[in-house]
């Protein structure tokens, strides 16, 4: 297997304001994200040779790509819609990268967009899957609440200790989100606020759960060899990983609810391609899937940032805070941007891209000398995970 490392570069990105965008439909969000990316790349829509696009919740039969081809006026070019739970944005990016890397296209548009606030209820709703009974009452907080329960049990954390541990993640992400104008939520919260908030799915309270937001993000990809024609500071794709596990975690024989193989495998694929041996030391900035604070806790360990069972120590020491050894979710993460599903993978990638360029626009938020960054999504029952590693310099590491 070849590596994707340094074959594709990102020359422009866009990201909408996230939030309750009552003013914007899916089409408006796509236009907002795509036109910022065009401008950032210094290109025109007619330069786009192909488009990969991810969205999840559009509920009707046969929407395909037509509802975005129209608003964006993408005349006569191939468009592909991808969907794979919370990894959808990453999946659009991954497939688009391959289209460029194989030499088929010289410039492609990647879009991840989601309009959640047209459903009339908060959250993603209840019920998943193809069976009318098996997951009929499954919810996202419920699934990740089960992850938290087992993590606490395995490592002997009392519910109070466990809630305080994950609560600190919410405090951190809200602090960062306060510094990020495009985030949905800008409020800072205290640990007491987090731990005493109403329960959504025990042990997860309101502040352990990401918001329910509309948003979109976009990227323009070109072959790495052509990147500097467009700008001086292109960002290079270093590694792309994606993996699935074969059954719902609830039904998986002998599963310990800790070692999600989809997360482990997808990150090891990407680390392998990028040449990362020690993620804790080598990665400068990470955007990980904090759909719930318990998810971020587990990801610290599965992605190799913390030793197994010891993320709590790193949380306590501020290792993942701005100014820490490895800042995680420097933009506030899903906690503050919400989780418009198809958009999230690309929104995270946008943050990594801007940070690597030194354009975080907030001195307090800007990670100094960041060379290597990772964005990561994890979703479904959960059962799917994806990773994109970006770097500032060709050949590094």
């Amino acid at each position: 297997m070849e590596s994707i490392k340094d074959k594709v570069a990102i020359i422009g990105m866009g990201c909408t304001k996230f939030g309750e965008r009552w003013d914007a439909g899916l089409d408006d969000l796509a236009i907002e994200a795509a036109y910022e990316a065009y401008e950032d790349a210094g290109i025109s829509p007619e330069d786009v040779q192909a488009c990969w696009y991810g969205t999840v919740t559009q509920p009707v039969v046969g929407i395909g790509c037509t509802h975005l081809a129209g608003p964006l006026k993408l005349h006569g070019i191939p468009m592909s819609r991808v969907e794979n739970w919370c990894t959808t944005g990453h999946e659009a990016l991954r497939n688009a990268c391959f289209g460029v890397a194989c030499g088929m296209y010289d410039l492609v548009l990647v879009l991840g967009v989601e309009k959640l606030r047209d459903t009339g209820f908060p959250g993603l709703g209840t019920g998943r899957g193809m069976s009318t009974v098996l997951e009929a009452r499954r919810t996202a907080p419920g699934s990740f609440g089960m992850v938290a329960t087992r993590y606490f049990h395995t490592y002997g954390l009392s519910p109070e200790e466990g809630k305080r541990t994950i609560g600190k993640i919410a405090v951190k992400n809200h602090y960062n989100g306060n510094l990020c104008p495009k985030a949905h939520f800008h409020n800072r919260v205290t640990l007491e606020q987090v731990t005493s908030a109403p329960i959504i799915a025990w042990p997860l309270g309101l502040f352990d759960c990401c918001g329910n937001s509309d948003g979109g993000a976009a990227a323009i990809l070109v072959p790495a060899s052509q990147a500097r024609k467009y700008r001086d500071d292109p960002i290079y794709v270093k590694g792309l990983g994606a993996a699935h596990s074969a059954l719902l975690p609830q039904n998986r024989p002998a599963f310990d609810w800790l070692h999600f193989e989809e997360v482990i495998n997808s990150s090891r694929q990407a680390y392998g391609q990028a040449g990362i041996k020690n993620p804790r030391e080598q990665i400068d900035i990470a955007e990980v899937h904090d759909c719930f604070t318990s998810t971020e806790l587990l990801l610290y360990e599965l992605l190799g940032f913390s030793p197994e069972g010891r993320a709590k120590e790193d949380i306590g020491s501020g290792f993942f805070e701005l100014g820490g050894g490895l800042p995680v979710n420097s933009d506030g993460g899903l906690k503050c941007f919400g989780h418009p599903i198809g958009a999230s993978g690309l929104r995270m990638t946008y943050e990594v891209y801007k940070q690597l360029q030194g354009k975080a626009r907030s001195p307090e938020r800007q990670i100094k000398d960041a060379k290597l960054g990772i964005s990561q999504t994890f979703g479904g029952p959960p059962q799917a995970a994806a990773v994109a590693i970006l770097g500032k310099e060709p050949g590094y590491p």
């Binding site: 209840t126 069976s131 009974v133 992850v147 024989p253």
Partner: protein, 475 residues
Amino acid sequence: MAGIISYGAYIPLWRLARDTIAEAWGSGSIRGERSVANNDEDTITMASEAAIDCLAGLKREEIDGLYFASTTSPYKEKECSTLVAMAADLRPEIITADFANSLRAATEAFRAALDAVASGSASQVLVTASDCRIGYPRSNYEQTFGDAAAALLISNTDKPAVIVEGSYSLSNELYDVWRLDKDIYVQSWEDRFIIEHGYTENMEKAIAGLLQKKALSVQDINKAVIYAPTLRAQQKLARRLGFDVKVQLQDLLISSVGITGCAHALLMLVAALEEAKAGDKILVASYGSGCDAFLLSVTEEIEKGKDNRRGVKGYLDSKRPLPSYTKYLSYRGLLDPQPGEPFRLFPAATTSWRERNWAIRMHSSRCKNCGTVTFPIERICYNCRSKDNFEEVRLSDKKARVFTFTLDHLAGRSDDPTIPQIGAEFDYENTRAYLLMTDCDPSDVTVDMPVEMTFRRLYEGAGMYNYFWKCRPVR
């Protein structure tokens, strides 16, 4: 000879104090409590529980018939016995029948089962009876009714636990209690008329007729299992017949369960059999547009399998108080709860049919190559990828424990807003299953908590009811 070889019962966990009903209405209470089926229970699920209780420790493949008796079947058109038989994991080559409309439906089914095994058209027939009748708000019936199910296994064998020595039936056309096809609530004529000229007159005739036919006197009867709409009616009848009310009369279960419709005579019989000794003579009489009376004699086989079954005794003691009258109204569908988030996938006849072996029979797949067990059934083994190389293993009668859980505040409806979602691990091959937990106080749920399986109605959609298994704390 035709007789009973096993028995089972089911009483819902929830009990409503009659004082709570009376307080809600500012009316009088008849004291005691009544059972209330949960919002995910109906007569099909309760009959399935009683059937499974009755079959504990027995070979289900030897059953060749299942009858379902109820006046409150969830379906007007669609057989229910077939669904109960499938939830009880009986084989498909069996006789089934639904007995309906009459408070005597259960004893009619009992008689039909006796006739079927006596004639040789079947060798073992499982009779289930289940009712969930609703009295008008503030009516006496609202207090006196209860929800429950019972089951009897009938066989033609040399060694039945209970021999049916004789019977006596009467048909009587009378409007005493009834429901039109569109009615929710039980209608009735004036008590003074229907108790005297309906219940008492006919029951007296049938019981006296049976004793005369068998040349027995009331003193020869060890237990009289006499159905009645009220305690007063039962005791008055028993006294008129000459029974010693304190010694011979089987408890009507009015103070603890309530009158459970057509299931009630069988429920009382199950309670009587739990205490019966070899040689006992038991009289059973049920009422509803006439009477069915049976004379039973108990053999030494009665001791067999006693520990396997939960029965009336087991389910009576296992209870939780239903905290409010409004919750009762909501559980019975008389008060609409705010529905919660919609179900996205409506039941489909096709998917229900394809999924029947795991969704209704609760079969898992056990790989014949490596032994890995998965639920639901997987055609390709999770562990070794052997294709279509598995045997089906029933999980519904296996114990499990909570491996992980969440208390989900989004998945419920307003009368039960918190839904425990469980990653369960079975005692069998560490098999896992994703199940909702019912009949519990969510705050009691812990990792490693022991649970058992229970067949429930999951939701209504596309004009059908959709059933699936849940777990509950071991009762």
